[in-house]
């Protein structure tokens, strides 16, 4: 690997942190806006459900998302504040369908201590100001004038030190805030202040409420006519408005999110950490509050945000489980729950650990993540590309083509599968035993290769062979009519719609035939100057049975020509360039847009947007799908049309957000494909591979495919063992009735079914901290080693732990050896047939020794100490790379002769680490506490000892994600001859559910892409005018420096989404042709 790294997101963040509802896209439209840490999604509420409108990245981690409507405006504005003190106000431009920045700025102070309890951003209900609490002791005010413009911000001194929450009160003549804070004696109080905009100061507010519940953590301002505030504690809920005080006690719960149900503020939804949803009702007589009532509604995912949409439908955004769209019913269901889940949105976060495995042994990695927390803990199997679930297969060598036919046009399902070989055609059908059986269609010529066949109008079938076109009655299966090729010429290619056939014979003859009842009418015949290589007349217009356009691919001049039907007039001739002939052309419509796809013999594919009326082609794009000739076929899945490109790298072409996407299919090589929707194999595809016919169903068409295995407990660590085909996980089961009580297990799962085969319960307070699968010197068995720590609540640092060595025998976990340690075993590594353990602040090497009685044990060999907490350890050869809790990366070396571990070098920056990985012998990658990535290099050739003892920082980058784990591996199938397959990659998983890829590029490619990135930054402006350069600059408590030697892959790949004109703008600036740029960027998209 190299120091030039390319970072790209394979799976976007799914952890929902904020949400709000308002009229953002139009005065009459109700929108749900969701923040997923570094992205925002805008949805429109329609009677059919949520309709996505926009999904954009934000150059920052969103800490506040609020809608507000200044006086005189019809639509809401969106206020976004990022954790790095940038804010912006966005407005929706309905005409352009994009976000417009109304205001933006920086609210950081040069000096100041960031608040411990997170940033608070609030907007006055009367839109007079925006209030921010970013630094201890200061309240920042951004005044909003009567025209809705933001004015210069200023700070007001806020004496309260430990602020827990601040909210604006409703119905105050001057903007008034309520501050929930904790004093030096840990007591909590609420105080109110009026904000005096002119004097830039506070005045004492109307009321104070001292000595609240010790767990009070959330304020809910109540709108008029009631006014006042609700204070949510762990044991009580209090309402107070200066005059009326009402309190009720509740079941102990930590409430994290609330959502207002009614505009008048009399009902609220509350969700606690366990995901229990409660309804809080303020009972009132007119404007006088008479009491509070809490009702339990039911269980959802543990919410981080709740937005009440409409008609009892609620959006529950979650950080620890899947986000949900729920409906609140008036009547409870059989389990007493009023909650009905309408829809779930997959959330991978937090990914605390994962492993990369190749379960199907196809050379493609899959990621198995430990996702979710608490009761929402799951394993997720994430795989790139589309899987085919094989249902039946037969050995059938030499397939030359396949078509499915229905027995009658009224049938829903396909009955026949026509399979053709070099000199024969066989017809397969499903018999009563659900088996494929050979059958016959009398009217078909079975002794010749079929070029085409299809169901056509009037319950008829057609078959095209080299010599003739036959029309067959579907019921009687008799031949009705035949059109014979002129003598001396044979038919080479053919295509048909329900009422038309287009044939090409040798010599460049193109024949157009219309199908009537029992008759074939030759309508037109033209001779072209060259031979025809492929053609298509798939209807793309309004009439599904009839096409008005035909496309023909030519030999010799390498063109795609579009003809009108029925008179075969040439409309367009498009030269494809190069020397490779087109092998397959296809008309198809994606999301209402007609396209022409044209595949070449070398695995390249052109796509054009087609004008149905004039036959003009525009927006030419070229991608490389494989290296062998491609055959294109359409199929339908989940009510959408997709195209299957069969080649050495089978691909499904589909469209999302009006953009064509290419997703590879997890099969090695496919020659032919046809949809085969039969009664016993519904929605299936028949796939012809080398020597084999397979029938299988296809996964949902999307790039990353995620399968969920619910555990109902929190998986913390995972390891895979190839030898026994199992996974082992360390998990914690929470028992909600007993506070903070957990039981910890080591569980063994089957790697195919994910069934729990065996479990090993750990001692009380004993946590599984690390797990690996490894083998030892002089022992052929493969073991699971589990490191544990006893987390006694009173002790700050575990001072006891164990290393457990398990052998999987007959599907059981057999404890073979155990070794007590003086601390928690944070990390385990297989180390040259030994075991390397990181125990608290030390690193220990254990060898596996044979006792006299034949049993084995771990024996300490040597160690290294002097770290604060050795949290992350990786090894390579005799080198050990260690990520310390707070002292960055150290490089250690094991000296076998001396039996000692010594430090060779370290990084003197005080980075608080969250993960480390070894990229190659000299370069190590680290992720740190402030969401940054960095690489360091060993300077073994340096002149002085001092330089040698220093790990030189060579790359720095702000990822904006908290990385929990790096693993070597790849999400995509590596083709040996593809350029990208030479690029080594590391996968990472983060708290927000991001799966990302870091690829080490050769220098030349890095320089090229770096230039492209610089040009892209000029063209693609960040949402809200936020700066890309600032966002990607490495930043922590001590320093902020520009990113270096890292490229933002998400930005670079967004090049492909640009309009042609902007692509050209960049192409001119770089003096590289657009095609070349597209090709190089597309190559990179293959990395994930």
């Amino acid at each position: 690997m190299s120091i030039w790294n390319y970072v790209v997101t394979a799976h976007k963040p799914t952890n929902v942190t904020h949400s709000c509802v308002g009229n953002f896209t139009g005065a009459q439209e109700l929108n749900l806006i969701i923040a997923k840490c570094t992205r925002i999604e805008i949805h429109l509420l329609t009677p059919q459900g949520l309709q996505p409108m926009l999904d954009v990245p934000i150059y920052g981690r969103i800490s506040t998302l609020e809608l507000f409507k200044p006086q005189g405006e019809a639509q809401d504005f969106l206020f976004i504040l990022t954790e790095r003190y940038k804010f912006c106000v966005l407005q929706w431009d309905a005409e352009a369908g994009e976000l417009v920045t109304r205001a933006m700025g920086d609210v950081s102070d040069r000096i100041g201590r960031p608040t411990d309890n997170g940033q608070i951003g609030i907007i006055d209900p009367d839109c007079r100001l925006i209030g921010l609490h970013l630094y201890d002791g200061l309240f920042k005010v951004i005044p909003i004038d009567s025209k809705g413009q933001l004015k210069e911000a200023f700070n007001i001194r806020l004496e309260e030190l430990q602020v827990l929450d601040i909210k604006f009160l409703y119905g105050c003549s001057k903007p008034t805030i309520a501050v929930l804070f904790q004093d030096n004696r840990d007591a909590r109080h609420v105080k109110t202040y009026e904000v005096l905009l002119k004097e830039k100061d506070f005045a004492d507010g109307p009321w104070v409420q001292n000595n609240l519940d010790n767990g009070a953590g959330l304020l809910i301002p109540v709108p008029l006519p009631l006014g006042g505030v609700i204070i949510i504690g762990e044991q009580t809920i209090v309402y107070y408005n200066g005059f009326v005080f009402k309190a009720i006690s509740i079941q102990p719960a930590i409430t994290r999110a609330y959502g207002r149900v009614d505009a008048d503020g009399s009902r609220y939804l509350l969700s606690d950490l366990t995901g229990m949803l409660h309804l809080l009702v303020i009972t009132h007589e007119k404007d006088r509050v008479t009491g509070l009532k809490v009702e339990r509604l039911g269980e959802t995912s543990a919410a981080s945000t709740i937005s009440y949409l409409d008609n009892a439908v609620v959006y529950v955004g979650s950080s620890y489980g899947d986000s949900q769209l729920i409906k609140l019913n008036l009547q409870p269901d059989s389990k007493g729950s009023y909650v009905e889940v309408l829809e779930s949105f997959v959330n991978l976060g937090p990914i605390v650990d994962f492993c990369v495995v190749d379960l199907e042994r196809q050379g493609q990695g899959q990621v198995v993540t430990c996702s979710g927390a608490f009761k929402d803990g799951t394993l997720r199997i994430v795989r790139n590309g589309i899987g085919i679930n094989e249902q039946a297969s037969a050995e059938l060598p030499g397939i030359k083509g396949m078509w499915s036919l229905r027995a009658s046009s009224k049938d829903v399902y396909d009955t026949f599968l026509v399979v053709t070989f070099i000199s024969e055609t066989r017809i397969l059908a499903i018999n009563a035993e659900d088996e494929l059986e050979e059958t016959e269609i009398e009217g078909f010529d079975s002794d010749a290769q079929t070029l085409f066949c299809q169901n056509v109008l009037h319950d008829q079938l057609i078959q095209v062979t080299a010599s003739s076109l036959r029309l067959v009655d579907a019921i009687s299966r008799r031949q009705l009519n035949e059109w014979r090729a002129p003598p001396g010429l044979s038919i080479n290619v053919a295509a048909a719609s329900s009422s038309q056939v287009l044939l090409a014979t040798g010599g460049g003859h193109l024949v157009y035939i219309e199908i009537g009842q029992r008759e074939l009418i030759e309508v037109k015949h033209v001779k072209l100057e060259y031979e025809i290589s492929c053609l298509d007349i798939n209807p793309v217009g309004e009439d599904p049975d009839r096409s008005y356009l035909a496309v023909v691919g030519m030999w010799t001049d390498i063109t795609a020509r579009i003809f009108s039907l029925p008179n075969l007039e040439l409309l367009t001739k498009h030269s494809l360039g190069g020397e490779i002939i087109p092998r397959s052309v296809l008309f198809c419509t994606f999301e209402g847009i007609p396209y022409l796809l044209c595949a070449l013999g070398d695995g390249h594919l052109f796509n054009f947007i087609l004008d149905v009326n004039t036959g003009q082609l525009s927006d030419r794009k070229k991608v490389s799908l494989g290296t062998q000739p491609i055959t294109l076929r359409t199929f339908r899945s989940k009510n959408a049309t997709h195209v299957f490109a069969a080649s050495d790298r089978p691909t499904v072409i589909y469209s999302s957000n009006r953009k064509l996407l290419y997703s590879n299919v997890n099969l090695k090589e496919v020659n032919y494909m046809c949809p085969f929707n039969s009664a016993s194999f519904p929605d299936s595809l028949a796939i012809g591979k080398e020597g084999e016919l397979t029938i299988g169903t296809i996964d949902d068409i999307q790039k990353l495919h995620i399968r969920t295995v619910p555990l109902n407990e929190h998986a913390r660590r995972i390891a895979h063992q190839e030898a026994t085909r199992t996974f082992a996980i360390c998990s914690a089961k929470y028992i909600p009735t007993v506070e903070d009580m957990e039981t910890h297990f080591v569980r063994l799962l089957d790697d195919q079914t994910f069934e729990n085969i065996a479990s090993f319960q750990l001692d009380a307070y004993e946590n599984g901290c690390s797990i690996i699968s490894c083998s030892f010197t002089d022992d052929n068995n493969v073991y699971y080693c589990v490191g544990t720590g006893y987390a006694i609540p009173e002790e700050s640092e575990p001072n006891k732990g164990r290393i457990l060595v398990f052998l999987v025998e007959d599907g059981k976990l057999q404890l073979v050896a155990e070794k007590e340690t003086k601390g928690a075993v944070y990390n385990l590594n297989a180390f040259n047939g030994k075991l390397l353990a990181a125990i608290n602040h030390k690193i220990h090497l254990y060898k596996w020794t044979l006792r006299d009685d034949g049993t084995r044990e771990l024996q300490s060999e040597c160690g290294h100490h002097g770290h604060i907490l050795a949290l992350f350890v990786q090894s390579r050869g005799d080198f050990i790379v260690m990520g310390d809790l707070m002292k960055s990366i150290s490089l250690l070396i094991y000296k076998p002769e001396e039996g000692a571990i010594e430090e060779c070098a370290r990084d003197y920056n005080a980075n608080w680490m969250s993960a480390v990985e070894i990229l190659d012998d000299d370069i190590y990658l680290g992720a740190e506490n402030s969401f940054n990535l960095f690489t360091v290099r060993k300077n073994s050739d340096a002149a002085t000892d001092e330089e040698r003892s220093k790990l030189e920082v060579v790359g720095e980058y702000h990822l904006g994600e908290f990385v929990n784990r790096f693993r070597h591996g790849s999400l995509v199938m590596r083709l040996p001859d593809s350029e990208t397959s030479q690029i080594p990659t590391v996968i990472f998983g983060t708290v927000n559910g991001v799966i990302g890829v870091i690829a080490s590029l050769p220098q030349e490619q890095y320089m090229f892409l770096h230039k492209l990135q610089q040009n892209l930054v000029k063209v693609i402006k960040g949402v809200g005018g936020l700066s890309h350069e600032q966002w990607r600059s490495f930043s922590n408590e001590r320093k902020t420096v520009d990113a270096k030697n890292f490229l933002d892959g998400d930005l670079i790949e967004s090049f492909l989404d640009l309009s042609r004109s902007r692509m050209e703008e960049i192409s001119t600036a770089m003096s590289v042709p657009v095609e070349e740029l597209c090709k190089r960027v597309e190559e990179l998209t293959r990395l994930h």
Partner: protein, 431 residues
């Protein structure tokens, strides 16, 4: 610890809070570091210590014998394997033998805030010396004609390079490194000035504490001081009443316990000062004795002062109010200033008090511990923000290192043996 790591992994504990919590827990366990030793190069008491702001790697110390030394606190010069202590010897030491070196006690040392190429020292020989670190030569001298007690350079300054000096004179003088001349003379104190410190919030604001018990705030762009702290003024958080808007501004001026000179309109205010009578305002004191130490918190919102009345006081800088936090049982006496240290998160303050260093919670005044190890009076402390180490200098000529407690290693190679040894030991004692 494991639980905290786990909570950070799942995102329940935001990383910045994880860091803050851990730093706090570690700080509370601070004790004499067994793994690190500074070999003091001085032959008499250590008066002043400072760690450089750029790399936080070099410790500068000044001693009563006129010597100044620099230590590398990251990389040890020697390592003792038997006791597992790293020994840090001085990289270099300068004293009176160097041309223009200090003849008498060095009272204060200061790194140049931008890099470690320059450091500044002040001494009882009346001189302020500006040294080049690489050549270890005096590059520039300022003759203050009185004993120099304290000097300070602003870490924030981007537009000036001024050394503020507090001397045995009542006047504070600002020396400009760029020109080698005095740029300002600030008069107001009525006795020697033992401490000067630049504000950590504004590059123009200087705070000084004198033997007259006064703490004065100066804005060097304007004449005169703009605030004198009053220990009697303690109405923190008092806001003007809500409804009486008309009387508000008036009320504030009445309540002029803090700002007698509003920085925004100095001329008008000076007129008012006359009407109040100079002595009333001017005679305000922050301490009953001399002000011996000043330390602003990193965010510049609060300041802790130490007086020879043996009191520590926490001030809200903006309002100038005494917060009345009680820091019990300090003992501060002496004839020169002391150096205190506040942790960057403003949670703890370290105060030299006789032979010990007292550790207090800044906000509650709760005394956490008293660090004992020096054999004579402690003069100064310097806190290392990343390593969370405290360096202290004392009249016993030593520089001691205090660090968060490390888990005790009984052994490296043979747990069992060590355990047995301990058991045997225990047995022996229980008999």
């Amino acid at each position: 610890m494991w639980q905290m790591v786990g909570r950070r992994e799942t995102g329940r504990l935001p990383p910045h809070k994880f860091r803050a919590l851990l730093q706090k827990t570690r700080l509370y366990s601070i004790e004499l570091a067994g793994h690190k030793e500074i070999a003091s190069a001085h032959k008499s008491g250590v008066n002043s210590l400072q760690i450089d702001a750029t790399e936080a790697r070099y410790l500068l110390s000044g001693a009563a014998d006129g010597s100044v030394a620099v230590y590398d606190i990251e990389q040890a010069t020697a390592y003792d394997h038997s006791t597992r202590t790293s020994k840090h010897e001085a990289l270099f030491m300068v004293d009176k033998r160097v041309l223009n070196g200090h003849l008498y006690s060095v009272s204060c040392v200061h790194w140049y805030p931008i890099d470690t190429g320059i450091f500044v020292t002040g001494s009882f020989d009346n001189f302020v010396n500006v040294w080049d670190t690489n050549t270890t030569q005096v590059e520039l001298q300022f003759n203050m004609s009185k004993k120099v007690y304290s000097l300070s350079m602003s870490t924030l300054a981007t537009t000036h390079m001024l050394i503020a000096t507090g001397t045995d004179d009542t006047r504070i003088r600002l020396c400009d490194i760029a020109s080698g001349a005095f740029t300002h003379t600030l008069s107001g104190h009525r006795d020697s000035v033992w401490v000067v410190q630049w504000s950590t919030r504004s590059e123009w604001v200087l705070v000084s504490g004198g033997c007259d018990g006064a703490i004065r705030f100066w804005d060097i762009r304007r004449a005169g001081c703009y605030q004198i702290l009053d220990q009697q003024c303690s109405q923190i958080g008092r806001r003007p009443p809500v409804l009486k808007k008309s009387s508000r501004t008036h009320g504030r001026e009445d309540n002029l316990c803090t700002k007698y000179l509003n920085a925004s309109s100095p001329i008008r205010q000076r007129g008012q000062k006359r009407s109040f009578g100079i002595s009333a305002v001017d005679s305000r004191t922050a301490h009953y004795g001399s002000v011996a130490g000043l330390q602003m918190t990193a965010d510049g919102l609060h300041m802790i002062s130490a007086g020879t009345d043996s009191r520590l006081r926490l001030w809200d800088v903006e309002s100038g109010c005494n917060t009345l936090v009680n820091y019990p049982s300090t003992y501060i006496r002496g004839n020169k200033g002391i150096q205190m240290a506040v942790t960057p998160d403003s949670s703890l303050v370290f105060t030299p008090s006789l032979n010990a260093i007292l550790v207090y919670d800044v906000w509650s005044g709760h005394s956490y511990s008293s660090l004992r190890g020096h054999y004579d009076q402690v003069n100064c402390c310097a806190f290392h923000p990343q390593g969370q180490e405290l360096y202290t200098g004392s009249n016993d000529r030593k520089i001691l290192v205090w660090a968060p407690r490390r888990p005790i290693d009984i052994d490296n190679f043979d747990y069992e043996d060590a355990e047995q040894a301990i058991k045997a030991d225990e047995d022996a004692w229980s008999d």
